[in-house]
């Protein structure tokens, strides 16, 4: 049988390939370039091998930022996931209120990161901000620009406010796909509210929840704009997360080599955690 050769599809694929090359592959390779070499400008490079990597991996500064980052991501996941599931469970399934709730839930997601940072900055200012002023007038000493604990709480709260909606919406979608028959059958089987959640709702939400957790993990692990606008990484270095630290090294100190090495390590850490998490979830699925 004669197959007609038609290579026209390349015309459709090529623009995408070029686009990917310019916005992902070439920048990544540039970073790799900087990570293994030293430069003094003028495109003159000297081979450095793994020097920068060793330097980054041994530095306390990187360790501290990584610990802060893990702590932050752990905290927001621990709050956002149960909260998101809880809110999704209590949202109405039908009627006008369902649409109202969905729109309200989607609103925070539509606000640009730096605006969120600025909003919370103003909201939390000790003298004039609604939150800061209220807390202080209630007799609680609160100043996020000076107290590390207050800075942390404000940052975590801001992230919870901004992103819990994402988990709510995904879980809500998962819940909506459960046919009424399941609830009726559970009712007939005499299942308790907890058993319904444990054996019907949670298993049906599992897929979307996996995606939600992955998205939230990646996003929060790479968080930059919001804490940068809110606290600028302070007070001191207490809210300096990995990306903020990276920018300080790369643009503040112009240490391109270590910064490039750190980027690659950072990238591999995100990749590794996502892969491990996803593999575990999918293995459970198969069993």
């Amino acid at each position: 049988m004669n197959k007609t050769l038609n290579q026209k599809a390349w015309w459709l694929v090529t623009p995408v390939l070029i686009l990917v090359a310019f916005n992902a592959f070439i920048p990544l390779m540039t970073v790799v370039n900087y990570a293994f070499q030293e430069t003094f400008g003028n495109n003159v490079f000297f081979w450095e091998g793994t020097t920068w990597f060793e330097q980054v991996l041994r530095s306390d500064r990187f360790h501290d930022a990584l610990v802060r980052q893990l702590l932050f991501t752990g905290m927001i996941l621990a709050i956002e996931v149960p909260l998101g599931i809880g809110v999704a469970l209590t949202m109405p399934r039908k009627g006008h209120w369902a649409s109202v709730c969905l729109v309200l839930m989607a609103l925070p997601l539509l606000i640009p990161w730096n605006v969120v940072g600025a909003m919370w900055n103003i909201f939390a200012l000790p003298e004039i901000g609604l939150l800061g002023h209220t807390l202080n007038s209630m007799g609680i000493d609160y100043n996020f620009t000076r107290q590390p604990v207050a800075a942390w709480m404000t940052t975590v709260l801001m992230d919870v406010w901004h992103w819990t909606s994402l988990i709510v919406l995904l879980c809500y979608a998962g819940l909506s796909s459960i046919p009424d028959d399941y609830y009726q059958a559970a009712n007939i089987d005499g299942a308790s509210r907890w058993a319904i959640f444990r054996f019907i709702q949670l298993p049906k939400m599992k897929r979307v929840l996996t995606i939600a957790i992955l998205l939230r993990f990646m996003d929060s692990f790479m968080i930059y704009t919001e804490p940068f606008v809110l606290t600028g990484g302070g007070p001191g270095n207490t809210t300096t997360f990995l990306s903020i630290d990276l920018v300080k090294i790369a643009l503040g100190q112009f240490d391109l080599g270590p910064a490039a090495a750190m980027s690659l390590i950072y990238f591999l850490v995100v990749l590794l955690i996502c892969w491990v998490f996803y593999t575990i979830m999918m293995r459970n699925e198969e069993q």
């Binding site: 028959d181 059958a185 007939i188 089987d189 005499g190 299942a191 298993p203």
Partner: protein
């Protein structure tokens, strides 16, 4: 085990704003005898599922009372009614094994583990699920899953009734037949009341001792398959049961006999002349035959179904279907038809008018 009684039960779903409620179920008073197998038969949207959900308590009727024996259960929640229900789409708890699925209703009621084990094995044996007990329920085929749903109903020894809401819709045709005979067998083994909702007359007639035919929110006839076939109480029953359905021809009543386009149709059950309303005569296609003397017709169509032929004939503008045996000759010229006098039914405003004499 209990006799289930409906007393003037009606149900309307909440209407859209500003509209009058539409009754999905219009006044039903009905006794479901303990240990019988019932089929609820009717077209989609006739209120079958509504009725079923009222029995199981998933719905509370807008009016009327439901009794289990002498206990008023109208407001009793589902979990306290000891009812099992199998739905159209199989419901299994995906994360559990088949064993845990079957044990679920018992464990929820705090049954001790030894009893659970004994009951589950017993039921698995009945349903041929023993080999799968340790498997995850999500890996089973549709009919396997439906067996689990059924098993969860059977596993409780105290159920008052098992309700089926079109349980075989998603099952492959060749397995349908198997599962249906299994149900029938189970009914004979354990003798619990079973109520089976379907819109498939073959399913209904093969499964049930008594068929409840519903139409437009009301029960139009309760009877054995033979009664439904021979003496439909409502034109809908005649039309819905049988394939092809009953023939209905407009008629006038003259001296107790129906008159169809000036042809007197002799009936062995004459009726009274003063019927107020639209009168029609009904006769099953099986009881129409070609004759030397009778109503002249034109043959429109002959469908050969292998074991018999369905012949469509016309008199004036009225279409009449008849079932004719394979070996029977169909007259080529000026055919005439004759109705079996014993099998002529007369309906006034769609309801059967009982004939005056024997039977």
């Amino acid at each position: 085990m209990a006799t289930i009684r409906f007393k003037n039960v009606q149900h309307a779903y909440p209407p859209p704003k500003g509209q009058d409620p539409v009754y999905a179920l219009k006044e039903v008073s009905q006794v479901w005898e303990d240990g019988s197998a019932y089929a609820l038969l009717g077209p989609s949207g006739c209120g079958k599922t509504t009725l079923l959900n009222i029995i199981s308590g998933l719905l509370t009727p807008s009016e009327g009372k439901v009794y289990f024996d002498d206990q008023d259960v109208t407001d009793l929640p589902t979990s306290d009614r000891q009812i099992a229900q199998v739905f159209q789409f199989p419901v299994v708890y995906d994360t559990m094994t088949v064993f845990d699925n079957l044990a679920f209703p018992l464990r929820n009621r705090g049954t001790d583990e030894a009893t659970v084990k004994k009951r589950v094995h017993q039921i698995a044996e009945m349903l041929d699920l023993t080999a799968n007990l340790k498997k995850k329920a999500s890996g089973l085929t549709a009919d396997g899953k439906q067996k689990i749903s059924l098993g969860r109903g059977l596993v409780r020894s105290d159920v008052n009734a098992i309700l089926f809401d079109e349980p075989l819709t998603v099952i492959d045709p060749h397995l349908k037949w198997q599962l249906r005979s299994k149900l029938k067998e189970l009914h004979q083994q354990i003798g619990v009341t079973m109520i089976y909702v379907t819109h498939d007359q073959v399913e209904a007639l093969t499964f049930a001792n008594k068929v409840v035919v519903m139409y437009d929110g009301a029960v139009v006839q309760v009877g054995t398959p033979v009664e439904l076939f021979n003496k439909p109480k409502h034109t809908f029953v005649g039309y819905f049961i049988g394939s092809p359905g009953m023939n209905f021809l407009p008629c006038k009543i003259d001296r107790g006999q129906p008159v169809f386009h000036n042809n007197i149709l002799a009936t062995s059950h004459p009726v009274s002349d003063d019927l107020n309303g639209r009168t029609v005569v009904g006769v099953r296609p099986e009881f129409v035959e070609f004759a030397d003397d009778g109503i002249p017709v034109v043959i429109e169509k002959i469908e050969d179904l292998g074991r018999y032929q369905v012949v469509t004939v016309k008199h004036e503008s009225e279409v009449i279907k008849m079932v004719v045996n394979e070996d029977q000759r169909i007259p080529a010229e000026s055919p005439k038809i004759h109705f079996n006098p014993d099998q002529i039914r007369i309906y006034c405003d769609d309801w059967l008018v009982e004939g005056g004499d024997n039977e």
